[in-house]
């Protein structure tokens, strides 16, 4: 398998010098995201995110399973992110690269362990049956910022997904098909989103949403996960350069602002999609969802 093509010395010097002069190769400001495009599929729970040239598709699917004995009242939720040679010929099938490990670990910490999804609501009969939800993350095109794009894709897909309704009589549970009962949305407790900062020049310059060539030049990376209420879900730092604690505090402030903007975009897209599906305005009557 060919290795990832390393950035040339000239290109590296060029990017570094441009940064010294407050310039980025694509003309963005240092704290600007690339244009975010979010589209939903015809089915529920498919989100296609394009962040500049990076493209990620997240797909949520549901199954019925037996809950693990130590967590009887919980459902199962898994996030699977596997790279394929489609994103880059350097990604080999069945041999996870470092980037892949980082991505699945961050998604795990950011979304699963921050309890973004209320797994208790996935329980059907305690200890016997529960919904097993899985989120498959497909990397289609890779131009840096995979963590940010994947996190947006998974969160948007989770909010877009509808699970089938279920009727429980004693120990017998019946899953109702889409035709019988309108499927119900998942209970999402909060919406964590990741913002990655790339450090250059030993922590003097930081960039948001670096593209692939900037990622190859940077000293270090900090990934901050926050929700729009300003709660920090996780902070991860990869790479060698030391970072000033005050700069880190500054990062969380910038991240909050970005997360708010992105949440707004996602919310807008979700509402537009709901309106498109709600032909004739019958959705409210069909809904079997209880008020929380």
């Amino acid at each position: 398998m060919p290795r990832e093509t390393e950035i040339s010395v000239n290109e590296r010097a060029f990017i570094q010098q441009a940064l010294q002069e407050n310039l980025r190769l694509d003309g963005r400001a240092f704290d600007a995201f690339r244009p975010l495009e979010l589209t939903f599929g015809d089915e529920y729970g498919v989100a296609d995110v394009q962040l500049g040239k990076t493209r990620v598709i997240a797909r949520i699917s549901v199954d019925v399973a037996v809950p693990p004995p130590e967590r009887k009242f919980d459902g199962i939720f898994q996030i699977i992110a596997e790279f394929s040679p489609m994103a880059s010929p350097a990604f080999e099938v069945g041999r996870p690269s470092d980037a892949e490990m980082v991505l699945s670990r961050i998604l795990e910490k950011a979304i699963r362990r921050s309890n973004a999804l209320d797994t208790e609501s996935l329980c059907i009969i305690a200890g016997l049956k529960c919904f097993a939800l899985r989120a498959d993350v497909h990397i289609i095109d890779h131009d840096g910022g995979l963590v940010d794009a994947s996190c947006i894709a998974v969160m948007a897909a989770l909010q877009h997904f509808r699970r089938p309704d279920v009727v429980v009589e004693g120990e017998k549970a019946t899953i109702l098909s889409v035709r019988e009962r309108e499927p119900i949305p998942l209970s999402i407790l909060h919406q964590p989103l990741c913002v990655s900062f790339s450090y250059f020049e030993d922590g003097e310059i930081f960039l948001i949403d670096a593209n692939l060539s900037e990622e190859q030049v940077r000293n270090a990376e900090i990934i901050v996960t926050m929700n729009k209420h300003g709660e920090v879900c996780q902070i991860a730092k990869y790479g060698g350069a030391t970072v000033d604690p005050l700069a880190l505090l500054n990062c969380t402030n910038v991240a909050l602002q970005k997360v708010k903007e992105m949440s707004k975009i996602i919310q807008g897209k979700l509402e537009a999609d709901a309106k498109k599906r709600d032909a004739g305005g019958l959705m409210a009557e069909l809904s079997a969802e209880n008020e929380r």
Binding site: M1, P2, G41, D42, E43, V46, K53, R55, I57, R59, S61, I80, E82, S84, P85, M86, A87, S88, P89, V93, R134, D136, H138, I140, D141, H142, D143
Partner: protein, 246 residues
């Protein structure tokens, strides 16, 4: 109407195609010719690697089986001897399957196979990997409820004529040669002959088909070779627009 296609829309891959037809949506990408790992290297020909990635979950033996079938078919249409000691890496990501696909009750790897093969050929064309010929593929379903075999039926059409006695996948080269045949179910030699003939008409003949209904899709007749030629014509027009512009 033939399948909808978008060519060369991915930035990292050398060539790519998105194929959407009858509710199947597949993204295909090709990297190649690239460096080949030592263990797969052939002295006189290129190595072809096919990866099929399902929409949900990780690859299973079903995908491995599809990969083997695709590998053998694509190997026979690629001029592997003109690019020796290289690797052509084909990745096919299934994006969505039609609704009710699981309820049809037929071998789902066979219903998927023609779409995967068509996507792979499109992606190879987009990459400009040297090909000896093109390949087009179609699914034929035989049911006692339908008077004639169904040609590339949709999932709902299949549900309507349940139970399905047999399904066949045929792939033809540009020279009308049978490249691939996979059949499943109970059928006689005559039935197979009829199905093969129908598939050949759809895959190969330029300018429409003449047999029975079943071939009409939205009132228009499909012709896979005509469709593929149309896609290539548009690709060439797009690539040569600097020449034609005045």
């Amino acid at each position: 109407m033939g399948p909808e296609t978008i060519l060369s829309h991915l930035h990292r891959a050398d060539g790519s195609a998105t194929y959407t037809y009858n509710g199947y949506s597949i993204i295909g990408s090709v990297n190649g010719p690239i460096e080949v790992p030592r263990r797969d290297e052939h002295a006189e020909e290129a190595t072809i690697e096919v990866n099929v990635r399902p929409a949900v979950g990780v690859g299973s033996p079903k995908e491995r089986h599809l990969e083997t079938l695709l590998h053998n078919t694509l190997r026979s249409i690629t001029l592997i001897r003109s690019i020796p000691r290289t690797l052509v890496q084909i990745t096919l990501q299934i994006r969505s399957l039609p609704e009710g696909e699981a309820a049809v009750g037929v071998n789902s790897s066979l219903t998927l196979l023609p779409h995967l093969l068509n996507t792979a050929v499109l992606a190879l064309l987009s990459t400009s990997v040297p090909l000896a010929t093109i390949a087009t593929s179609v699914l034929v379903a035989v049911s006692p409820k339908a008077p004639t075999p169904l040609l590339s039926p949709t999932a709902t059409e299949l549900l309507r004529v349940k139970p399905i006695r047999s399904i066949h996948v045929f792939a033809f080269s540009g020279e009308r040669k049978l490249l691939l045949n996979e059949s499943d179910g109970a059928f006689s030699v005559n039935e197979w002959d009829e199905a093969c003939e129908m598939a050949e008409e759809v895959c190969c003949k330029e300018g429409g088909v003449g047999l029975g209904e079943g071939m009409d899709v939205d009132g228009q007749q499909i012709n896979m070779e005509g469709w593929l030629r149309d896609v290539v014509r548009r690709k060439v027009e797009l690539e040569q627009r600097w020449r034609t512009a005045d």
